[in-house]
């Protein structure tokens, strides 16, 4: 009798379908996964440590680079935490702008997910359609904030600047055209027999398992848990918007796909609502310790000049304390836990990345499946390694 051994295969970090630099060590019996071990750390940049050596405002660009497909959402989670620490109220217009940008960003992030997920499963055409729409969103960001991938648009106490002239029309035309694009994507996938075969009943994670592993976001909702931070702990005026939490039932790849598509429709609707009801008013909190004085005051008034210099060079000094704030990012609950010792730099900043916890549930989904299922499961949990390794 010949000895049979399992084959160990190293999937990644250089592999076209591991979404960056994830390394999966798979133990295979033929093509069946016996054991899967994710290894992380190939994209570690020490964001949490870097944050300890920066003033509160200087940390915002770092957060852009966590989940680089969801920069606005990351900004939002961070500034919410600092604002909570400072105890300041953000003006309504700024809140609405934040919501609008965060939802546009969610659309962009989900578009990348859809394209790459479909590409992994072999339907390559969709990627180009998705990037066409994402490009429009990035152009909007460029006009609004100056940056595309890493806009750094949000500020502690508000947003960096008001909307430029004429951008509202562009956002509106994008929002109006988007439902037709959604139809295009769905024609290619939702009822495609091959797509159904590849996604239905694959990579299942039960409701209980999903909760126990700390899975959040569309991955959790795909398993049938109606949980969304935007509804559970409304932040930034989300309670004033109308939207639903789409859920799946079995928790397979198809459910997660379906949940995300419905979420894109709601995001689009939220952007439209924000645009329709955008209030007038200031975009920065009226707090002299946080907000920079207006430019003409800096040039004419010595007190304002000093204040400007102090905020820029020294930064803001929140009171001593610990704070946690989280948002519903495109991948799940993104939280920032900040410990302040009363100085101008955080003593410790801890990030709760949704992808890290979602990834930890991956072996649960794929063990017993085939190599092809690994690919569709990785695609369906939508991980970004920048956020996992931080």
């Amino acid at each position: 009798m010949a000895e049979t051994r399992l084959m160990t295969i190293n999937m990644g970090p250089q592999h076209p379908a591991t979404h960056g630099v994830l390394r999966l060590v798979l133990e295979l019996d033929g093509e069946i996964i016996v054991k899967a071990t994710p290894h992380i750390g190939h994209l570690h940049r020490g964001v949490e440590k870097l944050a300890e050596a920066r003033t509160y405002h200087q940390i915002i660009p770092l957060t852009d680079r966590l989940d680089y497909t969801n920069a606005m959402g990351n900004n939002l989670a961070y500034v919410l935490a600092v604002e909570k620490l400072l105890g300041i109220e953000v003006p309504k217009r700024a809140q609405y702008l934040r919501v609008m940008m965060a939802e546009l960003q969610r659309l962009a992030a989900h578009l990348i997910w859809l394209g790459t997920h479909a590409l992994d499963i072999g339907a390559m055409t969709l990627l180009f359609y998705n990037f066409r729409e994402r490009e429009e969103i990035l152009r909007i960001f460029e006009e609004v904030a100056g940056g595309r991938l890493t806009p750094t648009y949000l500020r502690i106490g508000g947003v960096a600047k008001d909307l430029p002239e004429g951008i509202e029309g562009k956002i509106r035309s994008f929002v109006n055209a988007f439902p037709d694009h959604m139809k295009e994507y769905e024609t290619l996938l939702t009822k495609n027999v091959i797509w159904l075969k590849r996604t239905k009943g694959v990579g299942i994670i039960s409701k209980e398992d999903a909760i126990n592993w700390g899975v959040t976001g569309p991955t959790l909702r795909g398993s049938g848990v109606k949980w969304d931070v935007r509804k559970a702990f409304p932040y930034s005026s989300y309670d004033e918007f109308e939207f639903d939490i789409p859920t799946g039932s079995t928790g397979d790849v198809y459910d997660r796909y379906y949940v995300r598509l419905r979420e894109m429709e709601w995001s689009n609707s939220i952007v439209r609502q924000a645009l329709d009801r955008l209030p007038k008013g200031p975009i920065m909190a009226d707090d002299p310790k946080v907000a920079l004085p207006p430019k003409e005051m800096v040039l004419t008034d010595i007190a304002s000049l000093i204040r400007h210099f102090k905020i820029v060079s020294e930064g803001i000094t929140p009171p001593r304390g610990e704070v946690y704030a989280s948002v519903e990012a495109s991948k799940g609950e993104l939280g920032f836990y900040i410990v302040s010792d009363g100085s101008n730099r955080p003593l410790r900043m801890r990030i709760r990345p949704p992808s890290f916890l979602n990834l930890s549930a991956l072996p649960k989904m794929i063990e017993g499946g085939l190599i092809a299922d690994v690919i569709s499961a990785i695609g369906s949990i939508d991980i970004v390694l920048g956020e996992i390794d931080r």
């Binding site: 359609y129 075969k197 085939l370």
Partner: protein, 339 residues
């Protein structure tokens, strides 16, 4: 003297067919990239020459001058042999395909028939050689000494076994109708307009043949051995330089050959679709029909996702196999009734 003329004629035909086939392969890569490009709202190659027409040559030159790596853990002789098997089988299949009618050389009474060889068991030859081609993929992946390559070649072997059966069975109906394995006879029986083509009598068989053919030439949704997102290119993962290019060319040559066989068996070969169009040479019609099929192959690549390996096996054995058998039964029954 007759033998001498025959030799000269055959050599000339071989050279011409080989050159045309290689040129078609080169431009098929261009066509695929161009068509896929337009499906995917981009341009495809457009830098190298007008409309990117020189791109295949630039690719060929590049492949030729790349470093030829053979991994240390590879089984060297097999590793070198595998791409040769792939390309030889893909090309030599074309030997029996009639791509046009006969014509008399002007000024003489010498008749030139537009096919290289007209053998009695033409169809058997085609399928024999086609199966041989899979060895290139299986051996190539196995000899690479790479686990992804090994998985790719295992998939290729499994896929070959399941689909070759259905592929063979799908054409039995045509053989029953034409009572011959000789490709020229099969084409001759389909003369006189498109309502005489086998696709009219055997529409189901045509669909089965196309599905199996997609599996045979490893294209989406059946591109298991390659599956770039799963196996990172599968069987050809360790191949570089001209050896990779040979596999690549073999794949495209295979595509042309399979399309040609489909045209010969089901779409009337070089015959014109309507009788009054017969003044146009058969070679044109043959090329046009092959082009349409190939366009279909490219088009569906831009549309469909990839099936999973076990699903392909299931589909092959549990669906296609039965359907082709039923098709044969019905065909045989109808022929029996008609006498």
């Amino acid at each position: 003297m007759q033998v001498f003329y025959f030799l000269i004629e055959t050599i000339i035909k071989c050279v011409v067919v080989f050159a045309c086939l290689m040129l078609s392969v080169a431009y098929l890569t261009w066509l695929e990239r161009k068509v896929l490009g337009h499906i995917q709202i981009r341009f495809g190659p457009n830098r190298c020459g007008p409309f990117g027409l020189l791109q295949p040559f630039s690719d060929g030159i590049k492949a030729f001058f790349k470093e030829d790596l053979i991994p240390g853990s590879a089984d060297k002789p097999v590793f070198v042999l595998a791409p040769m098997i792939a390309i030889i089988s893909a090309i030599s299949m074309f030997a029996v395909i009639p791509f046009g009618n006969q014509f008399t050389l002007p000024g003489t009474d010498y008749v030139v028939k537009l096919r290289i060889a007209d053998i009695d068991i033409g169809l058997l030859y085609v399928f024999g050689i086609a199966s041989l081609g899979e060895f290139g993929i299986v051996l190539g992946g196995w000899a690479s000494g790479n686990k992804y390559g090994l998985t790719g070649s295992l998939r290729a072997a499994a896929q070959m076994i399941s689909y070759e059966v259905a592929l063979g069975l799908s054409i039995v109906g045509v053989i029953l109708l034409s009572q011959s394995l000789r490709l020229t006879e099969i084409v001759a029986l389909q003369a006189g307009g498109f309502w005489h083509w086998n696709i009219i009598y055997q529409p189901a068989a045509f669909v089965f043949f196309i599905v199996c053919a997609l599996a045979e030439i490893n294209r989406t949704p059946f591109d298991m051995p390659e599956a770039e997102s799963e196996l990172a290119c599968g069987f050809n993962i360790e191949y570089s330089s001209m050896k990779f290019a040979l596999f690549f060319m073999a794949e495209y040559a295979h595509m042309i050959t399979v399309a040609s066989i489909a045209v010969t068996l089901f779409l009337g070969g070089w015959q014109a679709p309507l009788p009054f169009l017969e003044f146009i040479p058969g070679v044109f019609w043959f090329g046009a029909k092959v082009f349409i099929l190939i366009f279909f192959f490219i088009w569906q690549r831009g549309t469909f996702p990839r099936l999973r390996y076990d699903q392909i096996m299931k589909f092959g054995w549990k669906v296609l196999f039965e359907l082709t058998l039923i098709n044969i039964l019905i065909t045989a029954f109808v022929m029996l009734l008609k006498g």
